[in-house]
């Protein structure tokens, strides 16, 4: 049996309100299915599930606001028996007897089936200290267990370790997580009616909190580069003559594609800064900054932008804009962006020095593409240009690295036919 928890739909989200269930107990779900609608303070998000299985129980009813990591529903693998009503956890593999010095074949002494999880198995010699809160020594926690605890919202101080030398393992965390399920619910006030939130104010507050955190924690550095767009615009003009009106390309598609392809060559700019270390993104998922009618903005992911054709990028962005404005983004789009692009050109400004979206490590900005004086080969001429800017996290990269990203974007834009 496993849990479907309230996902973090962006670094700024601490809790969400369950607006609707699209599944009911007994339904079979597949990884990627949209199963619920959740209201963050910024938008209504369609939430995908990341596991195949059959829904056991919907733990959180519609209208309830719960913290990130709280269990929303439980499910079991397809074909497995539904867990007994009392919630006895799935039977773990028979515990291995305490390490005997050597040989005699490990006659599994058929230990009693696991008793209620809280009892815990009786470990050998040094009884694992239930890592009491308030002690000073560092908890022994495996890296995997630490990661899983973070995902499940488990406080490690409440976990008893049964691993080597009493270390907390993934299994220990998961055991506590299932036991603790009711806790977050109990903490929740009686289901308030889906309150008519002042979305404007809530979004302003969320953006404010996130941007303040970004500026407080991230040592930004800024670079800018003016890029000659004459080849790109000319190529765009020619190719658009051959395309039906609906399929015509906009310069912004070229800019996004150029950033995505440059990011492939610069994996150190494409990813996240988490726990004092850089983690590269698992693909190039460009966050596309979209301003919403009435104010505020979101930056959902254009997945695998480096592998999309220009036409696919156009279609992808159009789809994102429509759904963002209708408040129908998906959970993976909110949590996946690895590098954000903001394009304020259509509003007429010349350049933008952006604020990084944590935990990403960089943000690329574009101003307006317009004709400006430009020197080439000792001559002064007039060409369409755009100023590309980079705001980057100095913990993760240095100006030298950042400037390579900008020059790579420039290089991509000089051969638009390859985008």
């Amino acid at each position: 049996m496993s849990d479907f928890v309230m996902p973090s739909l962006g670094a700024d989200m601490e809790a969400g309100t369950l607006l609707d269930w699209y599944v009911k107990p007994g339904d079979t779900v597949k990884r990627g299915d949209i199963v619920a609608l959740v209201d963050t303070s910024k938008a209504e998000i369609e939430v995908e599930i990341f596991e195949d299985g059959v829904i056991d129980e919907l733990v959180v009813p519609v209208g309830v606001r719960v913290p990130v990591g709280a269990v929303l529903a439980t499910l079991h693998p397809v074909g497995a028996k539904v867990a007994a009503a009392v919630g006895a956890p799935v039977e773990p593999a028979p515990p291995i007897p305490a390490p005997a010095p050597r040989a005699p074949p490990i006659a599994a002494p058929a230990p009693p089936p696991p008793s209620p999880p809280s009892a815990g198995p009786a470990p050998p010699a040094p009884a694992p200290v239930p890592a009491a809160a308030g002690t000073n020594h560092r908890l022994r926690v495996s890296p995997l267990a630490r990661r899983v605890a973070e995902q499940l919202g488990v406080d490690l101080a409440t976990v008893t370790g049964t691993g080597p030398n009493g270390a907390i393992t993934r299994a220990d965390v998961e055991r506590v997580s299932t036991v603790a399920v009711p806790a977050p619910q109990a903490a929740v006030a009686p289901p308030p009616p889906p309150e008519p939130v002042d979305r404007q104010a809530a979004m302003r507050a969320a953006i404010g909190a996130l941007m303040a955190r970004s500026k407080r924690e991230i040592p930004h550095y800024y670079l800018q580069l003016e890029i000659d767009m004459s080849r790109a615009i000319e190529w765009l003009h020619e190719t658009n003559l051959e395309r039906p009106v609906n399929d015509r390309l906009l310069p912004s598609a070229l800019l996004l594609s150029a950033v995505a392809r440059a990011a492939v060559e610069m994996p150190e700019m494409n990813g996240f800064w988490i726990d004092d270390a850089f983690r590269p993104g698992s693909g190039v998922h460009l966050g596309v900054a979209i301003s919403l009618r009435g104010g505020g903005l979101v930056a959902p992911a254009l997945h695998d932008a480096d592998r999309k054709s220009l036409a696919e990028i156009m279609a992808g962005v159009r789809d994102l804009v429509q759904r963002a404005r209708a408040g129908r983004l998906r959970s993976s789009e909110m949590s996946d962006p690895t590098l954000t692009v903001t394009n304020l050109g259509e509003h007429g400004v010349d350049l933008v020095h952006g604020v990084i979206y944590p935990p990403q490590v960089a943000l690329v900005g574009f101003g307006a593409v317009r004709e400006r004086p430009w020197t080439a080969d000792g001559m002064l001429g007039v060409r369409p240009t755009v100023t590309a800017t980079l705001a980057a996290d100095h913990r993760a990269s240095d100006g030298h690295t950042g400037s390579r990203l900008l020059t790579l974007i420039d290089r991509q834009l000089q051969k638009p036919e390859t985008l």
């Binding site: 515990p95 291995i96 370790g161 049964t162 393992t169 299994a171």
Partner: protein, 334 residues
């Protein structure tokens, strides 16, 4: 599915078949080494080849590893495809100057003008009571050297199939044949052919721990996995196959599935291949680990001669099982 007629064959015979096939396929291929001709190889691998191919192509050499490995390098530079047999990895130390300062570097130092399509085969490892000068596992030392490719066939199919791609490789390739494997016997399809020499292989799938082994420790890992299975722990056995360059992707993917790893290496622990594999797991899969990576290596002594001491110095299935037990702690996983 067409079923090729299978025949039962030993590791030794599979190696001989591979040499025969290479000699028949390409007249530039020849074998040289100590006692490879009249005596048939000190492990019997080349028995019968002198009669079939004659002394021009099956060449007995004087007892001078430096001289005949050097001659092999020269022949490779001159366009031949030599297979040089060195009796044991211990003795290859006499030729280390040739292997490292010439074979591994000439392509680089000549700006790519010379390839060194040389294959050096050597026996490695202990377990046969031939004492400290014939029993060590020094693969880790050689795996330190850029410019070499190192292979460790642990199965009949690999013994049969690794030589052809090794000869086709423009770089010097070292093949380590663990002495305990020569009598290994299994069925091999009559048409079994070349295998890849890039990837590690999963010899047994499992979900709870990855046992990483190569050459002579693969059977040790498989035996440990059997014992663990009886106790409800499913061990995955990963055979490195290629010791340099290491196939990080397969190693990391396995650890990401099982979240625990034990590296089993007949070399000495300090500065070993096991240390290298362990470091790479730490570097690339730290956040997947549910327990520290463990190592089971040979005792840090010259390999003893008496049977019981030799066995005590070598990685044993029971030691591996013990490591895994302490790793999974009091509770089994899942």
């Amino acid at each position: 599915m067409s079923v090729a007629p299978a025949k039962t064959i030993t590791y030794r015979e599979a190696m001989r078949e591979a040499i025969r096939e290479a000699m028949l396929a390409d007249e530039r291929v020849f074998l040289m080494g100590e006692d490879v001709g009249a005596y048939g190889g000190c492990f019997g691998v080349s028995k019968g080849l002198l009669d079939e191919f004659g002394p021009e192509r099956i060449r007995d050499t004087p007892l001078s590893e430096s001289a005949f490995v050097g001659a092999g390098i020269g022949a490779a530079m001159g366009g031949m495809r030599p297979i040089v047999e060195v009796m044991t990895v211990n003795f290859c130390l006499l030729a280390l100057d040739q292997i490292m300062n010439n074979a591994a570097t000439i392509t680089h130092m000549s700006g790519g003008q010379f390839a060194i399509p040389l294959v050096i085969r050597m026996a490695t490892g202990a377990g046969r009571q031939v004492a400290a000068q014939h029993s060590h596992s020094l693969e880790g030392w050689l795996a330190h050297i850029p410019g070499l490719k190192l292979l460790a066939p642990a199965t009949i199919a690999d013994a049969r199939g690794m030589l052809a791609p090794a000869l086709a490789d423009p770089n010097p390739v070292l093949i380590f044949e663990h002495g305990s494997l020569y009598n290994l016997e299994s069925e091999l399809p009559a048409d079994a052919g070349a295998v890849d020499i890039e990837r590690a292989a999963i010899r047994r799938p499992g979900s709870d721990v990855t046992l990483i082994a190569y050459g002579g420790t693969v059977p040790v890992a498989l035996a440990a996995a059997d014992e663990l299975a009886a106790a409800g722990v499913e061990a995955e056995v990963l055979d490195l196959r290629v010791l340099r360059p290491l196939d990080d992707a397969t190693i990391i993917a396995s650890v990401a599935r099982t979240h625990r790893a034990v590296v089993i290496d007949e070399g000495w622990r300090s500065g070993s291949l096991a240390a290298e594999v362990s470091a790479r797991i730490m570097e690339q899969a730290f956040y997947e680990l549910d327990a520290p990576v463990a190592r089971v290596c040979s005792a840090e002594v010259p390999m003893p001669y008496p049977h019981h001491l030799e066995q005590a110095a070598l990685p044993q299935p029971a030691t591996v099982v013990g490591e895994v037990r302490s790793m999974v702690g009091a509770a089994g996983d899942e």
